[in-house]
Amino acid sequence: MGAFSLAITDAPSARRFGRHRGWIDELPWDDACLAGAADVARQAARAVWTRTAFSEYASAAAFAEITRALLAAGAPIDLTAAASAFQIDELVHAEVAARLTTALGGAVPLEVDLARLVRPPEVADPLLAAAELIVRTSCVGEALTVPMLGLSRRLAGSPLVDAAIARIAADESHHAQLGAWFLDWADPLLDDAARTHLGAVAGTALAAFAPLLAGGCTTSGLGVVACDAYDPVFRAAVERHVVAPLARRGIPIPAADLAVVGVPA
C-alpha cells in the first residue's frame, strides 16, 4: 500500500500522449465557481475527484487486462484495438481528475495498492476469462458510469466541472459499449453454463456498489452528488443499463445480488 500520486514527464512519450489530452488545456480553468464555493463543498469535491483520479487509473489497468485477455482469446482485432485505446482514454481521464483536484485545493491522501488494481478472472478458459473481465468492467462499471456522470454534470454548478464531465462521459459511453460489441460477437461461443457464470460475475460486481447506497450525505455540486439525488438514479441505471442489456443476451443476474442494491429481480 502507498499514497496515490500521478506524474507526467516532458519526454517524447509525453508529447505522444499530448495528442490525446490536448482538450484538457482548453477547459475553462479560470472558473470562478471553484474559488467561490464553500469550504465544505470543496472538501467533498476534493475527495470525490481524488477517488475519481484513482478510479480512472484502475480502469486503465482493467482495459489493459481486457486487451491481454482478448489477444489470448483470439478475438477480432477491432475489439482488441478498442480495448487498447480505452486504456489511453482512462489515463487522460485520470489526468483531468487530478488537475480538477488540484484546482479544488489538492488531493486527499488515498492509500492504494497498485499491485492489485484488477480482480483476476475466476476461470482459465481464455474466451470466458475475457468475457468475465468485460462483463465486470464494461457491462457493469462503465455502464453505470455514464448515467451517474450525467447526473453529476447536471448538478455540477461549475462550467469547468461541467465541461470536464461532459468529455469524460462521452468516452465512457464507448467503454460501456465494448460489452455489447464483445458479447454479440461471442454469442455463438457461449453456452448456458457460461452465461450463468457471467450473470454471477455481474451480480458480484453490482453488489460491491451497495455501500454507496448508505451513509450520510453532503450537498450536490462540483462533481459531488447528494444521496437524495444519487440513490434513485443509481437504481434506475442498474435496471436500464446493466440488467436489461445482459438479460437480452441471456445473462441473468442473481436476484440476491440485485436485492443488495435495492433492485427488484
Binding site: 478510479s55 488494481l117 475466476e122 457493469v140 450525505c217
Partner: protein
C-alpha cells in the same frame, strides 16, 4: 533532460509545480483547520509503527479488496472510503463467483 511533473499528490501546494517539490510546511496552529488540529492530536498520541498502518482514505473496493471499476463514486458521503470497504466486507460474504 527529462523533467517529471507531479500531477496529483496529497500535498496541495506542491501539485503541478515545475520546480523541485519542497517538503510541505505545516501551518501554525492558529491558521490550521480544526480537522487538521484533530489529526495532529491523534498522531501525537500514536506510535509511528501504528500510524503507518492506520488507514485514512482508501478507494472504494469489492469484497476482495480490488477497486471498483467505473466512475460512480460521485456521491458526497460523509463516510470515509475506508469505512466503505469495511462495510463491504461485513455486508457481503466473501465467495467465489462459482459459489454464487
Amino acid at each position: 533532460m527529462i523533467t517529471t511533473l507531479l500531477l496529483l499528490c496529497a500535498a496541495p501546494a506542491a501539485a503541478l509545480a515545475d520546480a523541485p517539490v519542497p517538503p510541505p510546511t505545516p501551518p501554525p496552529d492558529k491558521r490550521a483547520s480544526p480537522a487538521l488540529l484533530e489529526l495532529r492530536r491523534e498522531l501525537s498520541r500514536t506510535e509511528l509503527a501504528a500510524a503507518r498502518t492506520q488507514p485514512r482514505f482508501r478507494p472504494l473496493c469489492d469484497d476482495r479488496g480490488y477497486p471498483l471499476v467505473g466512475n460512480v463514486a460521485s456521491k458526497g458521503t460523509q463516510t470515509r472510503p475506508s469505512e466503505y470497504c469495511a462495510d463491504v466486507r461485513t455486508r457481503l460474504t466473501p465467495r467465489t463467483v462459482r459459489e454464487a
